[in-house]
Amino acid sequence: MIRIRSSRVAALVFILCGFGLCVPFVAFAAGRAPQATKPAAAPPGKPLFEGACAVCHGMDGSGGNGPNIRHAAARLGPNGIEDLVKVGFIGSGMPTFPQLGDEKIRQIVDYVVSFDQEASGTQPGDAQKGKEIYRSKNCSQCHIVNGQGGNLGPDLTRVGTRLSPGSLSDAITSPGLKLPLDANLAERAAFRAYLMQRAVTKDGREITGLRVNDDTFSVQLRDAGGQIHSLRKLDLQKLEDLPGKSWMPSYKDGLSETQLNDLVSYLAGLRGAR
């Protein structure tokens, strides 16, 4: 039954995709944010997970008939997992769980996210202290939270719905490691946002910057000072990607383990206005 139904959904998506207006299945859709991760003694998602999911993913998420999902949050983000549990995974053995309802699904998602937290070695920290660290390190020079801050980096108002604690920790200690996806581009949803590029013009000028737009005939790069350079591709002798490079400095050495955990907890709790 499930298989037959999935095939119809797949075909439906094909229609949407037919003329290039395609949205990938498991998008980082801006759905509803799960509830804040609360490190309680017995998380409410635990018994739900063990009842609904463990038969395939194992009691601790490390796999069985289904895959190991202990790191799934790092890749899919809380919203991605929520979507997956709501719509299933087309053409696979992963069923949908609409009967659980939004509230329980969010509790399960929080529980799955906590696997990634354990796996990455981050501990739940003090979000209030984390907020203070965010202020003292001047992160808002480049990031917006609730409308306040600079915009050289991504808006972090809802970053807790996009990134798991493990990914947040990576983003702070190894900037550029995983470039954030820009979920706003409808046509090519996985266009790599925040990619750094180096352009050399035919007359020898060199510009390194963040790619803010790229089309067939021109490219716009934003330099460290925030200035945008619009370049005609015909005038360039070279345009190269600089994967792994970021305007964001690494805070690997600038933060103690406790401080990092506090900062991650603060960011994980940023889930936007509901």
């Binding site: 959904v9 797949a10 075909a11 439906l12 094909f14 290039g20 990938p24 053409g91 046509e187 089309d215």
Partner: protein
């Protein structure tokens, strides 16, 4: 059939490419070659009788129909002048056939493809293992939208090049359950026995490529960002017109592919540009959104050209 065919007045023959068999992604209930799907068919224009057929993709399971517009041209192959028909197929291969007999002459990929080792001497694909759609999804190139789709290629006798709007991408092909039943529409609307997930990101792109028409060898390419859906127009003035996904209408040098001119028209160009002459004056026209853009060269000794625009 869902796309334009071609007509050869000399031999009074119509050429049409045919669609793919259904259910699209599940071939279990339709074993065999499924004639005359995914074929080029030559038909006598007076009697409607089939003169010959050539099947590109026997037992097709990736939704790669063969409805792409066939191009008729005459050229020398191995020193001998021949009447040819060529077709850049959705399956990723470029084919050249003798248009009087349907004899297969050449076929090579014009985009990345991962489903065939190549074509045999008769032009039949030698398929690779593990390319069939599966319940989990199988990654195969080209994408479900094909190496080319309905957007027309063009040919210039001046350069001997075939100008193909080519798409570089793969898809995850998914197999579902779908049975043919009376009264059930199949294909896109009815289910089609599966579907596909797109690859996305910077690795997916579209190009205009200049292929040597008799061999399919690539001589140049013009790379575009995004997912373009415009055909090409080759002119006697040595230009190739097309448009990209970002609404840039452009002209390339037909010999080198170098961009010579472009204009941001502000909305999608998804029809082929066309050209014609009235009272000795030549026009290039493109439809973009709900507007028609017409261009002509400025009168001698007149100021820079102003594009005429109307609805």
């Amino acid at each position: 059939m869902w796309n334009a065919g071609s007509y050869d007045p000399e031999t009074n023959t119509l050429y049409w490419g045919t669609g793919n068999p259904a259910p699209d992604w599940n071939g279990d209930g339709r074993l065999g070659d499924n004639l005359f799907t995914c074929s080029l068919i030559a038909v006598d224009a007076n009697t409607g009788k089939m003169k010959w057929y050539f099947q590109f993709s026997p037992h097709e399971t990736h939704d790669w129909d063969s409805a792409q517009p066939p191009i008729l041209f005459d050229a020398a192959v191995k020193g001998k002048p021949r009447k040819l028909v060529s077709l850049a197929n959705r399956n990723g291969f470029y084919y050249v056939l003798d248009r009087t007999t349907g004899e297969f002459l050449t076929g090579i990929p014009f985009v990345k493809q991962t489903w065939a080792q190549g074509l045999d001497a008769k032009g039949r694909p030698i398929t690779l293992p593990n390319i069939e759609p599966t319940v989990e999804g199988t990654l195969v190139y080209p994408a479900i939208t094909g190496g080319i789709n309905w957007n027309s290629p063009s040919y210039s006798p001046l350069t001997g090049l075939f100008y193909v709007p080519a798409r570089e991408a793969g898809s995850y092909y998914i197999k579902g359950e779908e049975k043919m039943a009376p009264g059930n529409s199949v294909g896109m609307v009815g289910g089609g026995g599966g579907g596909a997930k797109f690859m996305t990101g910077d690795d997916v792109y579209t190009t205009v490529r200049g292929l040597e028409a008799t061999t399919g060898r690539k001589t140049w390419e013009f790379k575009m960002t995004g997912d373009a859906w415009t055909g090409t127009l080759a002119t006697a003035g040595g230009l190739v017109f097309s448009a990209d996904a970002g609404s840039n209408l452009f002209a390339l040098d037909a010999l080198t592919g170098k961009p010579l001119w472009h204009l941001q028209v502000g909305t999608a160009v998804r029809a082929n540009p066309i050209t014609y002459a009235v009272d000795g004056e030549q026009y290039v026209v493109a439809v973009a959104g709900n507007s028609v853009f017409a261009f002509t060269l400025p009168q001698v000794a007149q100021a820079p050209q102003a594009p005429a625009q109307g609805h």
